[in-house]
Symmetry: C2
């Protein structure tokens, strides 16, 4: 085998490993999505068994995180990737931490849904929570899409959507306080539903984090802690630059 | 310069960079600790200005995280470290994410303390919260110690201490529900103090995460999602093995 062939061979193997890593993250994302869907179903259908099942199944998410983490370390050690590839791997190490924490929040929602199933149902059947959940589920979906297609523009839209989720969360929270003041017998139930709202809001935050890593992967710019407006300007500029090059 | 000298030179520079990275993380840890201390002081002293100052200062923590993150990527790209050094850097990338999130929780506590300063003080002056805070502050302190000395045994003690914090949090939570039921006029205030308890409990979780990375750095074993008993057995075994070698 010629040296050049060997180089190509290594690089091809490396590419295959990166592709497989990227797809493992998406598989993990799919599992997390399923956990969240089932947790919300448990709430809506008052299915305490399903809620507890979600909580139990969290170990599957954790197991995937550890596996991908090991793959990342192995690739870093054997291939010493540089520039874009290195950014991709560092971003993946961070992404799976956030995915795992979305899994943790789904676990908490599952447990709370199981507890709420045993209590009297409010007349709204948690409509406000289900609205919030719908938005957050969409965010998770769009986040995984942006990650799959390494789409910085899509990622930026998710970062924007998080502001809407935060506003909805605040309004759910204020409504909860009003309910409790009006009828203190509902306190336990309202507090539990507030925890669920809080978990959903945190899932939105994790999606935002992941989307920031996507933008970092694509453009090499760390845009955490930058205002949405500045980020938007930066991403637009970067897209124009890459269009000018190609 | 001989090739050998050059090798030594590079390795010496690499070591210096690792030492400086390690000490940057400790500086960031010190800042996070200070933020938490001030947030709790704001609660105790009903000092709304201090509470808001803590919230404002969170950007300093974020700035440090971005800086250390960049250093990690640069070291990975220029030195392609292997084995123990690679583990150290991967663990640092994860550690600073948790430190940054401890900073976020301190920010939230600061804001809530500022809001509570304007409300009537309960007869206990939040004694139960301050107890919980004392334990959590000790955990942060022990976590940074374990990280500074790469001390797996100390890290393991922190993992154990988190169980105590979780229990205290549960009891604070139940007490809050009782207060609200007894006197619904306290609802807003109790809910705010519950959020503080929740933030403190989450800080405990982040400390636990960091300590798990410390154990991973020292022994190369990923012990997340393992029961405390199993972790204890593994760390003991690893310590015995390293004693047998030296």
């Amino acid at each position: 085998m010629e040296v050049e062939d060997l180089g190509q061979h290594i690089s091809r193997r490396f590419n295959a490993e990166i592709v497989s890593l990227h797809s493992s993250v998406l598989t993990m994302g799919g599992l997390v999505q399923e956990q969240l869907d089932r947790a919300i179903e448990a709430l809506r259908e008052r299915d305490s068994e399903l809620g507890l099942q979600v909580a139990q199944d969290d170990f599957k998410v954790n197991r995937m995180e550890v596996g991908i983490d090991e793959d990342c370390s192995r690739i870093l050690a054997t291939h010493s990737p540089a520039a874009g590839d290195l950014r991709l791997i560092v971003a993946i190490i961070k992404t799976i931490t956030d995915l795992e924490r979305i899994g943790d929040e789904a676990e908490k929602i599952g447990r709370l849904a199981a507890r709420l199933a045993g209590l009297e149902r409010p007349s709204t059947n948690y409509r406000e929570l289900r609205n919030l959940a719908r938005h957050v589920k969409q965010m998770v979906n769009d986040t995984l899409d942006a990650f799959a297609r390494l789409d910085a523009t899509g990622a930026l839209e998710v970062v924007r959507a998080d502001e809407v989720v935060d506003e909805e969360y605040e309004s759910t929270y204020r409504q909860g306080i009003t309910f409790m003041m009006e009828d203190p017998r509902t306190i336990s139930r309202v507090i539990d539903s507030m925890w669920i709202a809080r978990s959903l809001e945190r899932i939105g935050d994790h999606c935002k984090n992941i989307c920031e890593y996507v933008i970092y992967m694509v453009h090499g710019k760390d845009i955490r802690y930058t205002s949405v407006e500045n980020v938007e300007a930066e991403v637009r500029q970067a897209i124009q630059q890459s269009e000018a090059v190609s």
